[in-house]
Symmetry: C2
Subunit: 427 residues, 2 copies
């Protein structure tokens, strides 16, 4: 590990996998004040060439080579799911702190091995990005922890997107290889709901849906979760590109960008142009980082609003809280108000905030390995509940650590992940 002074120490981060996960984080990675983008690994030569040009940092063909770089503090594992376990093991063995993309892994065994590897190496392991890091979710959780509104009783989460009709590699449409919404979208919603509900899910009853034979993996689910503390949550997700719940989010899209409702049906229309699975994979690869047709605005660099994962309503004893792209709506006994959040300066800064706070400031992460494993356990339980037609009881859950504020009051000074605003925390 590199040796830095503590004053304005910055985290030297290497990227494993220059795909869409990386693209969604690119603006943050290059602009976060506490991070230096210091290397990458990807088997695709065009991606390496592009990275070297964009970032002026070395790009390797393998994760092994990346991890061998002694100047790196940490590695962001954003390779396809099936490689997460192996790449985390490599990074841990090299003494690097680790940020690994969701889903943490495909099985609890893999996730357990990843935690053990990080523990053995004495490095931090954080699982993200998920939308459980979104500033409005963290802020809602802090409002809950503050106690003013009483206990969390009931959570409703719903998200309707076009997920299943975005261009895919074949494995992304095969559940047993980590495809479909249970591995790719449920981790977001479950992370959100677990954070707000305290973390300790007791039981899961779910029904999953795979309604389109041409894309034979789960595209939808409904689930009811009970928590140890008595709270209940219902989660609904559909990626079938019909109703779009951004209609209930002021037409702000998942990435915090304004969305044009008139572009209805676009995902299916674009996909209609591809001739089959190979063509679709090729189409996807041209749109990836370094690809010929990489859409410039695929992920907005400066979204005016916060990211979100659909509608979330948290019912507490004395208020309902509704995280939105502009802040947290608080519906109290006597009145309602927006607990506003200043616009983000870079999207997804919260993930790097947490990584830097852990590595540089010694602040234990919220979304650590045990947390990520617990979220995976819920997702796998949803699949099992649906398959077996019964409620599934959980055993690997962990609580949100402590009652200390995670977001606004807990952010280290001088980490401007968001535009400064006199409104912050105001009523």
């Amino acid at each position: 590990m590199a040796d830095h002074g503590t004053a304005d120490r910055r985290l030297r981060l290497g990227i494993a996998g220059l795909g869409r996960g990386f693209m969604a984080m690119r603006a943050t990675l290059s602009r976060h004040p506490r991070v230096v983008l210091a290397g990458a690994a990807d088997p695709r030569e065009e991606a390496r060439r592009r990275f070297a040009a964009d970032c002026g940092a070395p790009a390797h063909a393998t994760v092994e080579e990346l991890c061998a770089d002694p100047t790196l503090d940490a590695v962001y594992v954003a390779t396809p799911h099936q490689f997460h376990a192996a790449h985390v093991a490599l990074a841990a063995a090299a003494g690097k702190h680790i940020l690994v993309e969701k889903p943490m892994a495909l099985t609890l065994e893999e996730a357990g091995a990843m935690i053990a590897a990080a523990d053995a190496a004495g490095v931090h392991l954080i699982v993200g990005h998920t939308h459980g890091f979104d500033a409005p979710i963290l802020r809602a959780r802090d409002l809950i922890a503050g106690g003013e509104y009483g206990a969390v009783r009931m959570i409703t989460a719903m998200d309707y997107t076009d997920f299943l009709y975005r261009p895919r590699r074949p494995e992304e449409l095969a559940t047993e290889r980590g495809g479909g919404v249970m591995f790719n979208q449920a981790p977001h919603q479950v992370d959100v709901v677990r954070l707000l509900g305290g973390g300790l899910v007791r039981s899961v009853r779910a029904v999953t849906g795979a309604w389109d034979q041409a894309r034979p993996t789960e595209g939808a689910y409904s689930a009811l979760l009970t928590f140890e503390n008595g709270a209940v949550a219902t989660l609904t997700y559909s990626g079938y590109a019909h109703f779009d719940s951004d209609e209930f989010c002021g037409w702000v899209g998942e990435s915090g960008q304004p969305k044009d409702p008139e572009r209805y049906g676009q995902a299916r229309r674009l996909l209609g142009r591809v001739a089959g699975p190979d063509d679709e994979a090729a189409f996807k690869s041209t749109r990836i980082y370094g690809g010929a047709d990489e859409p410039p605005g695929a992920f907005p660099d400066d979204p005016p609003f916060h990211q979100h994962f659909g509608v979330v309503v948290v019912s507490c004893d004395r208020a309902d809280l509704r995280p939105t792209p502009r802040g947290v709506l608080v519906y109290g006994d006597a009145d309602r108000h927006l607990d506003p959040l200043p616009p983000p300066t870079v999207p997804r800064a919260e993930v790097l905030d947490e990584l830097c706070a852990a590595v540089l400031d010694g602040r234990p992460p919220v979304h650590g390995g045990a947390w990520g494993l617990a979220t995976l356990e819920v997702c796998l339980a949803m699949l099992r509940s649906a398959r077996e037609g019964r409620e599934v009881t959980l055993s690997r859950q962990v609580a949100v650590p402590g009652n200390a504020p995670i977001f606004s009051r807990g952010r280290p000074d001088g980490v401007p992940g968001m535009a400064a605003s006199p409104e912050l925390g105001s009523r």
Copy 2:
């Protein structure tokens, strides 16, 4: 039973119970072209006086006397829940057709006895009003039955209201006497969801919430229902007067009236003026039909929009359908459109349409006794599931009868429950 010619035969209807149930139906009852409001029964003298003056029809002190009137064809039982069984038995014994308010009864035994009594007397028994009669729900069901959009796969229903903070009689806050949202609100949402899902619920997992010790009955629930046909539904309800889901319904209220979002917190404010349970019951009684302070616009006579029960999204293979106060939003593969409904001419006309169609035209009702019992079975199963912390399997469910259109194409000509419009059924 009165003997009428068939040409323009009208149904002579007597009302048992002149409370808020009746008030919600009053405009319809007095203006429906196939109904004559021909009598009433209520122990409250002021209500009888008011009814005689309003309607020019006899008002009796007891349901027995009402049922003894040989000129009546049918009785609308809108007395408090605990009397439904006895009053249905009286009406059936007198050979009257019956419309009974939701909840049909407090137990399945009572509901079974009511069905048996109606069968023995050879009279129709219809359970309503519920929001399962709302024109947009019936229209959505017809769109489903039409087959164009494929099978129903997943339903999401959520409703957030101020139900628990409306003025109540003490029994309305005691679950074992039929109080709380499980007996008073769940029947609406379950009726809606059963109609759209085909009717045959297989299992129920639910958690109920009684969060306010000052009003110690259920004010909220979350439930996951599976159907025999493989569909799943999640139902969420909160009556705790915080978030108001009319925000997602274009600020149209449950009765189809425009709603002023600035009146936030009004239910709790009004209730804050009463001193205790007796005072609250007295306050409620002054606001009832014939009472001193009966609010003139408690139920709008001419709502510009259709009634609703919150957000409902029905996901089918090839479209999501969303019943709204203006019609059914159809989110298809390629585009979306509103399947518009002309505004109602009288609210809740659909209930009387179904009653008249059954009695006058011999058209079997959708919301008959067996249907109502099945809805009650789901509501009771939700209570049991919550109490016992497990999934409950059902055994008394019935399917939506046939695939014939219920609403638009099935309405007998010349029953203008809605304003004529060239748009009806158009795309």
